[in-house]
Amino acid sequence: MDNQETEFNKAAKTLKGVSLTTREKDAMRKHIYEATEVGEVVASTPSPFVYSSFFRQRTLVALMAVFLLTASTSYASFASLSSLPGEPLYDMKVNVLEPIGAAVRLNEKEKNQYRVTLLRQRVAEIKRLKEEDRLKSYNELISFKAAQKIIAEIEASLSFDAEAENLEIISTQVETYNSIVLDESFKLKTIIELHINEENPSQKSSTTTTEEVREIVDDNARNTKVPIQEVEEEVEVEVEVETTVEETTKPIEMVGTTTVKKVTPIKIPEILNIIGL
């Protein structure tokens, strides 16, 4: 009897000590919120004060458009709505006001620029949450969804950023955002860096080093009758000539314009020209 009772009590004590880990709880809550789409569940409940969802949506958009047009179409009007993820007005801000803000932009380039501004705002929001010690998992989730949505829009309109002037900003903003979020799964994912390498290979080639130039010269020299030694000597001579020009007061024409032009800076096309290709 004692043995059975002891075993029972021991088992009861063991089971009492069992609990979910913090990580398991966080993952569970995250899954629950994701599965039920935070924000949309409540918003989807129809209000008894509107006639139909169509009317409600149209009216709301019209009111917001009027508000925006009368206030300002600039970024400053949005800045006044300084709600943060998890706050009551935040859903309206990212799902209603900001899309309207993009819609009133005249062309895709402006829209793209506006989206970059929104991405900066997402970063500023997450920074503020952290500063105010309000960076909880559900706030992170809401912020992540809003930021990832912007990233997707930016990626879709990347072709309109012909000068690639925003790529570095986007990349920096994503890095900053990811350094702030606590949960690994809420880190932003983007293909922007990939675009930098794929679409602008010239960025890399513009920083061609002396060694790379030499390699190219060597490669070309193998296919020409002019020995590489001669080319080097010619370059050296030309550099000396230029020095002479700077030291004397003789007009540049006396030295020969073609020679001076070829001397500095030493660039691949010029060297190829010297080689005779």
Partner: protein, 169 residues
């Protein structure tokens, strides 16, 4: 719509509070009932997902403790229905090895000892004894969870305890 959105942080706060208070309780309850670490995690998650949906739908959960237990209880019943009402004991008889669950065999054996002892009692006593001796819940809490009076809880605890002791003899 605006009013609903204003309420949402409060709803979340309420849900988070209930989750913090009862997630471990529900987890242990499901573990006790199923002895399967994968299943009890899923059942716990399903329990709170249903609770969150109910809260979001704007329904008033007057007695959350009772409601959460009821959801968990129903989910366990559904689970066994899906599993063709095979209990762990029946599964073990058919060659089921609980080691695959990830928990130590000794621990699962202890859970089995508990369940075997408590399941020998009449149905009215089982969950009350579990709540009292495993979860260490107070009489009022059990009364709320089971939706019965505190007097009835006290009576069943005393009788259940005596019945349990006679099982050990």
């Amino acid at each position: 719509m605006l009013e609903k959105q204003r309420q949402q942080p409060d709803l979340k706060l309420g849900f988070e509070t209930l989750f913090a208070e009862y997630s471990d309780v529900v987890y242990r309850f499901c573990l006790y009932k199923t002895s399967d670490t994968h299943v009890d995690y899923d059942l716990t998650q399903d329990t709170f997902m249903r609770l969150w949906k109910v809260i979001c739908a704007g329904k008033d959960v007057e007695k959350p403790k009772q409601y959460i237990y009821q959801i968990a209880r129903n989910l366990v019943i559904d689970y066994y229905k899906k599993e063709k009402a095979l209990s762990l004991d029946n599964l073990q008889e058919k060659g089921f090895d609980p080691k695959y669950n990830g928990l130590e065999t000794d621990f699962l054996a202890e859970v089995t000892i508990l369940r075997q002892a408590i399941e020998k009692l009449e149905e009215d006593y089982r969950e009350i004894i579990y709540m009292r001796f495993i979860e260490g819940m107070g009489i009022e809490d059990i009364a709320e969870a089971m939706n019965i009076s505190t007097n009835l809880v006290s009576v069943r605890i005393n009788r259940g305890k005596k019945k349990l002791q006679t099982k050990f003899t």
